[in-house]
Subunit: 256 residues, 4 copies
Amino acid sequence: MPQFRNIAFVASETEEAETARRDLAARYGSAAPEEADIIVALGGDGLMLQTMHRYLRNRIPIYGMNRGSVGFLLNDYHADDLPKRLARAETTVIHPLCMTAHDRDGVKHEALAINEVSLFRQIYQAAKLRISVDGKVRMDELICDGILLSTPAGSTAYNLSAHGPILPINAPLLVLTPISPFRPRRWRGALLPNTAKVTIEVLEPEKRPVSAVADNTEFRDVITVESAEESDIEIFMMFDPGHTLAERIISEQFGY
Amino acid sequence: MPQFRNIAFVASETEEAETARRDLAARYGSAAPEEADIIVALGGDGLMLQTMHRYLRNRIPIYGMNRGSVGFLLNDYHADDLPKRLARAETTVIHPLCMTAHDRDGVKHEALAINEVSLFRQIYQAAKLRISVDGKVRMDELICDGILLSTPAGSTAYNLSAHGPILPINAPLLVLTPISPFRPRRWRGALLPNTAKVTIEVLEPEKRPVSAVADNTEFRDVITVESAEESDIEIFMMFDPGHTLAERIISEQFGY
Amino acid sequence: MPQFRNIAFVASETEEAETARRDLAARYGSAAPEEADIIVALGGDGLMLQTMHRYLRNRIPIYGMNRGSVGFLLNDYHADDLPKRLARAETTVIHPLCMTAHDRDGVKHEALAINEVSLFRQIYQAAKLRISVDGKVRMDELICDGILLSTPAGSTAYNLSAHGPILPINAPLLVLTPISPFRPRRWRGALLPNTAKVTIEVLEPEKRPVSAVADNTEFRDVITVESAEESDIEIFMMFDPGHTLAERIISEQFGY
Amino acid sequence: MPQFRNIAFVASETEEAETARRDLAARYGSAAPEEADIIVALGGDGLMLQTMHRYLRNRIPIYGMNRGSVGFLLNDYHADDLPKRLARAETTVIHPLCMTAHDRDGVKHEALAINEVSLFRQIYQAAKLRISVDGKVRMDELICDGILLSTPAGSTAYNLSAHGPILPINAPLLVLTPISPFRPRRWRGALLPNTAKVTIEVLEPEKRPVSAVADNTEFRDVITVESAEESDIEIFMMFDPGHTLAERIISEQFGY
């Protein structure tokens, strides 16, 4: 059983989260995140996502406790016995997507996405997109509000809203889901192997401007967007036994 | 059988449509639209919609002929025997929606929509909306990409892409359809009587800017949008017998 | 305000419903249903449906009170002040469907359906059906588990499970919804005017036997099924003000 | 490159398939299936499924050629150069599901399913089912027309009709999809790891009789049905290069 001696606490800006951070730091000490053995994130799913983004290259396990409004990625909050809980927690390893977007000015942007890469129309004109997988054009022209490529971890988020299926956390898959497909109208998207490289070209980008978003990082006026799993990057999320992300996702699948 | 003596021709800007316009005008004469007994629109569905918008207060029947890429609202193109075809054509009367939007600067905007009124997020932040029908709050908070209210005539357009049902052209209904509902996630929208007045309030409009669109007329940064059928305005669309809009919509329902 | 002097009470077979029936009969007297001014049905939606079927030709208003597991069609249960509540209740008039089925032995069966007429495969072989509306073949061959035609009142029942839309109670429409369409696969069904006569022919009925059901009345091995609204029959359902069926259906549409 | 010296030909009962069988046997010789290096199946998807079922324990590769109405699992038909085509063909290995059903008379039935195991109500009474995965009850009570568990190979078949997602052929997943879920109404099913053991209990089996089907093998009046991937059984399907089942499934995902 691993011992986590140096715990870092990060919190969202609400009073509730900030209070919890002060209490826990007083009880258990507090390291700087970069030097910690484990980071405890106090807030909601937004703070958890932000913390994973910030420290994903540090390979430090992250354990979230719910002090916010939604807690899909988080453990229940208790102040007591934290070192024992951390020692017993189970690890889920996930990989982000790497998105490379080029915009109309020729600028190249890169960003990582833990949940999904999405493209979206900027004005009332529907987006017109060409979709390629592994260098092969699979759909010549999709007229739509947008499209998203989601990881299993993200499949319960935006993907579900866009009527895509929930993936088991360990499935070696990505899910490509259209948003309001206009032509072809009844296209429901595709499940792809997690090795797939997906390229979206924006057609008629002057008339039909489109933005690209990796989780919460948005680039406007893109013309091509490439996405693929970054299997070299491992993010270590920690959960109490019986409440792992795999278990939550299966529960979510049987919820309604 | 009505006689249409003064025919006006309008065309989209493609060479094909323009050529047809010249040919037909040479054969049958050409009135100014405002003074015509009937307007013949040559192009695609976009031109037909645009023509209906332009002349909807003139109460002049509009007969479309397909010289464009999509022809749901149009008759087949033939140059011969036009007066006889027009005399035999059947009329479908439709009503537009009237949208009244207020923006963040306090400016009030009004526009008519033949197909639908839609609201859409402007940036990556999901829209947060409150929905009232006839003054009663029906959904306190919808987190989503957007929402649309469609007429029967528009139910085969954007509404269908957003997974809403197709309505018969004469059904006294409007259809309210969410776009990527995030919370509540599995909400599928509602069919409302055509007398319904629908009010959408944009919550947190600074953080979550939303635009409102009536067909192709867009207003940015709105904070409230009211929509209702404008039953006083009648638009007269003309179709060859056996190819009326009612028939097309039922065919579309049984297509796939 | 109508006065209901002679009240009949009917109850489902549970002890809870039977107790309520005895209590109310002791307080308010009890007429035979056929001679009553109003029938009060005590139980769940099943009893309510059954009561409407039994007395629909008697034109007696029916007021349900919930003593069962589901209460979509029912008012809340209170024993006090019943005459006053009945006098204030609002009436919703609905029409049943009339189903005429012919089976393989040449026998003709008729039954009424308040919710829906449905067809269903009897064995593992998928049903193969031909669909006509008003005498015109609209789908030559549908391979599926089955199909249903629902009234607005039934649209929240089986139709909703089969992914059909909810109709407002007063919409002059019927909804035709396929069950697991195999070919064409992405057909979602059709909204039809309430004047539509829908004919379903069972193809290859020996290999692919199909049963037809009007609410809970089932006929096996059918070969043709015709359904249409029986507009001559009026069923009077009574609801407390603010809790009418129209209001429940709109609430159901905004529920999730 | 493998050489297939002894080719067996099997055909469906249509004249077209039978003629092809005679022609090919005359040109290339004909072995008994049990002694062949490869079996060439001539017909539609039904014959292909039937051939795989019959010879799946013989571990003989099966190459289908389309002489029937649907050809998802089949190669194009050409009579020439067959040995060369077979030598170049690529192999897809799939695993069946093993279904173990117990009926009301205490009889135990076993059958394999290449596409899916499905349960279905036998009469108008909706099925009431309890769902467990790996011994843990995941849904206490599902009221529905039925439910199915599909392999990736079967995900484009019945599963797709019941609104389930298409799986890549190599995804280590099974998909559990409800048919017309009545309560919970908006349940969309679950993607499960291919190691999952799924148990369905039929509740109230006297009132609500249910049949279980493994591909085309049906057992009536079942009370429990257990299903799991039979990973020991390998079925070798052969496809022309560029037309593998993986490619067909991805094409199907991008079709509409």
